[in-house]
Amino acid sequence: MASLDRVKVLVLGDSGVGKSSLVHLLCQNQVLGNPSWTVGCSVDVRVHDYKEGTPEEKTFYIELWDVGGSVGGASSVKSTRAVFFNSVNGIILVHDLTNKKSSQNLYRWSLEAVNKDLVPSGVLVTNGDYDREQFAENQIPLLVIGTKLDQIHEAKRNEVLTRIAFLAEDFNAEEINLVIEKRYFIRDGSQIVGFPDRKRFGAGIVKNLHYD
């Protein structure tokens, strides 16, 4: 397969937020029955018809690389993970809406992925404060997904959603014009809302690829 047709998308996030379930849902159109820990990296492939219905229709294979582990891990694990971060076309950041820590860790995850050339121990220059300029020249499109919305009690949902509202902006994720943030009901497969949105997201990434 020519390298032009490869679309590599990383799926990053803390352990237990639902990355493997998300990837399985996207690629197999089924809910993952028995999720277990991801050791290392698991890959899945989704066939996507870019610009379906138009004369420029082309079939792409989107590779979703689901990298496991925790962001505060040993530096040997970080060095090994850096191997997967080469030539990435897009990054999906996944966080758990019921777990504040996982949203905060997204900053560190994105830094680790974008600064893969630096020595892992030297990445965290500013540990809490976030520097938008580091992402100004970042060409890689980012998508932030929050999972497990159904596990939050109805009354608290608004409060959680307002807290998340600024998260995507911080990442300068406006590069994707169509979809900045979407939440999926992972537990119940029958509620796959936003199926066409996912296709549009895929188109967004592939569009960026063509612009480069």
Binding site: D14, G40, C41, V45, V47, G72, V77, V83, K100
Partner: protein, 455 residues
């Protein structure tokens, strides 16, 4: 009046320990997690607080602080509370959290956790039978029954940890055992890993395309539905689906391979960092320390063997023996009573502090290694249980290191346990654990270099 003052001192120190346990929990153990269950945190801190109070009472005993009757009262009370926590509360909550994780049993959580607790109690009671730990004149529900069993479990744990620690410590400190890892080794392994990932991807692409084609051709799902469906799928399976299962099996094998390669690469990176660390000053210091520790470890194993073979339990504690030696052989005269009190205080204090510190560090490492967001509560409670049992049996064993006049309170409070049994049991388990750790480390060390070394 003095009783009130003494009690307030003890209670204040308990509150302090509780706060320390709380902070440790928040800052160290659970710093990457969202704490959702305050029950777990409270139980952990309470266990820690009462365990530390026991040690504090020993120190008070040696120093002669506080009234002796109020000391005795607090001992008894402390012991009762700790046993209550270790035997009733923590196991019950462990069962409760385990059951909460299983979705099927969610409705009758309390019922099932009671059931689990009863099973635990049954095995706990049965534990006492094969061991000669009690004199027969004790009743069923006495403190001695519970403490003896808790002591057995705790002493086993202590000996296992000591044995493994004694062997592992020189192994990690000394650079003699470090395997030689070069950058080319790491690069080669990384290349293999990426190649495996590429193979997985290409196979998955084939599966995805084949499935899409089948779907477009209007084939029904491969999943057989119902009885006749199963029979049909056995006899007439479409050639496409057979191909798919074959490819799927290859993919599974490749994924397993990729996981192993990932873990090996992590291992190599860790070894490389250790090599670099050993070239620094700190590294060299630890290297020398490692040699001392290996000598100490060999000596301890030797002593344990002698204790078992010659069936000997030390009658005198190290402090009195040390003083005897200095007085008799070196001819130095000094006030035995005064010095024995202070020296034993220092010795016991050092033992206590290092064992608490060592245990907390080991617990933290263990917790990071195996916990996930679902099981973190259960694991913390298990750690609290282990910590409580460990501290109780430390008190049992520390009795050996103290001069006879201070041993009385432990003997009084804990009743007439066969202390000698515990020391013998400790020696046996220590020996077994140390020898099997040596064997295990030897095998692991031998097996690793053959895989990675470039010829």
């Amino acid at each position: 009046m003095s009783f009130l003052i003494d009690s307030s001192i003890v209670v204040t120190s308990q509150v302090l320990f509780f706060g320390f346990g709380w902070l440790f929990f928040m800052r160290q153990l659970f710093k990457d997690y969202e704490v959702r269950q305050y029950v777990v945190q409270v139980i952990f801190s309470v266990t820690f607080a009462f365990s530390c109070t026991m040690f504090e009472l020993i120190i008070f005993e040696i120093l002669g602080v506080l009234n002796s009757s109020s000391r005795y009262f607090h001992w008894k009370m402390n012991l009762c509370v700790i046993l209550l926590i270790l035997v009733f509360m923590v196991p019950f909550y462990i069962g409760y959290f385990i059951v909460s994780n299983i979705r099927l049993l969610h409705r009758q959580r309390v019922l099932f956790s009671c059931g689990l607790w009863l099973t635990f109690m049954y095995f706990f009671w049965k534990l006492g039978d094969p061991f000669p730990i009690l004199s027969p004149k004790h009743g069923i529900l006495s403190i001695e029954q519970l403490i003896s069993r808790v002591g057995v479990i705790g002493v086993t744990l202590m000996a296992l940890l000591s044995g493994f620690g004694a062997v592992n410590c020189p192994y990690t400190y000394m650079s003699y055992f470090l395997r030689n890892v070069t950058d080319t080794d790491i690069l080669a392994l990384e290349r293999r890993l990426l190649q495996t990932m590429d193979m997985i991807i290409s196979k998955k692409k084939r599966i995805a395309t084949a499935r899409r084609n089948m779907f477009q051709r209007g084939d029904v799902n491969n999943k057989p539905s119902g009885f006749w469906g199963m029979i049909k799928s056995v006899t007439t399976s479409a050639p496409g689906s057979e191909n798919l299962t074959l490819i799927q099996q290859e993919v599974d094998a490749l994924e397993e391979l990729s996981r192993q390669l990932f873990l090996e690469t992590v291992d190599l990176y860790a070894t490389k960092e250790r090599i670099e660390y050993s070239k620094t000053f700190k590294g060299r210091y630890f290297n020398v320390l490692g040699y001392f520790f290996s000598v100490y470890c060999v000596w301890k194993i030797f002593m344990a063997t002698i204790n078992i073979v010659f069936d000997r339990v030390g009658k005198t504690d190290p402090v009195t023996r040390g003083i005897e030696i200095t007085v008799n052989y070196l001819g130095i005269q000094f006030d035995v009573k005064f010095w024995s009190q202070h020296i034993s205080f220092i010795l016991v204090g050092i033992i206590i502090v290092t064992s608490i510190r060592g245990l907390l560090i080991t617990l933290t490492k263990f917790f990071y290694a195996i916990s996930s967001s679902k099981s973190s509560n259960v694991i913390v409670l298990l750690l609290a249980q282990i910590m409580g049992m460990y501290f109780v049996s430390s008190v049992l064993l520390i009795r050996m290191s103290m001069p006879p006049e201070y041993r009385t309170i432990i003997t009084e409070v804990l009743g007439e346990l066969q202390f000698n049994f515990y020391h013998r049991w400790f020696d046996v388990i220590f020996l077994v654990s140390a020898l099997s750790s040596i064997l295990f480390l030897y095998l692991a060390h031998k097996q690793a270099p053959e895989k990675h070394m470039t010829p």
